[in-house]
Symmetry: C2
Subunit: 93 residues, 2 copies
């Protein structure tokens, strides 16, 4: 993933879930009212874990306001293209 | 998973995605206008794949009307309890 770090987006990847939970909580305490938890492919399950941990354990006044799913085309090294699913979970106060 | 097979629910688990895509399409052709694609834990990513494949390749008039995430408590064999994330994707015409 080569996304630019956006102020209110947390991209979920290979690290343990708690790393991303911390990322969300840091943004919330920096005054972000709306945070997007985004992931692709197999990390989608972890993105849901992150949203649920934030909502249930750390920011009990936070609500999940929207969830979107989609598909991106990804070019493999051999030139082939594959479709990869995406998720964006919007969480805020 | 020991859920009762519900008429308009497709539970996504260990099988290949296309098995569940077929399940959704079968229910649609049986006249179900609203189908819930449900999964837990690591199968959540596959549930998103299934919804996206249905919407993009097979039922192009279908819309994803709602996505809900949640947490269930699961008892392990040793008596410990762990939290497991869930997703329910509602897709229909």
């Amino acid at each position: 993933m080569a996304e630019k770090a956006s102020e209110n987006v947390v991209y979920v990847g290979q690290k343990p879930s708690m790393a991303y939970v911390l990322g969300v909580m840091t943004q919330m305490s920096n005054g972000q009212n709306q945070i997007f938890i985004k992931a692709r492919g197999r990390s989608i399950s972890k993105a849901v874990d992150v949203a649920e941990i934030v909502r249930r354990k750390f920011a009990k006044d936070a609500r999940i306001s929207n969830i979107e799913i989609g598909t991106e085309e990804k070019a493999l090294e051999n030139g082939q293209k594959v479709n990869i699913s995406t998720i964006s979970i919007s969480i805020g106060k």
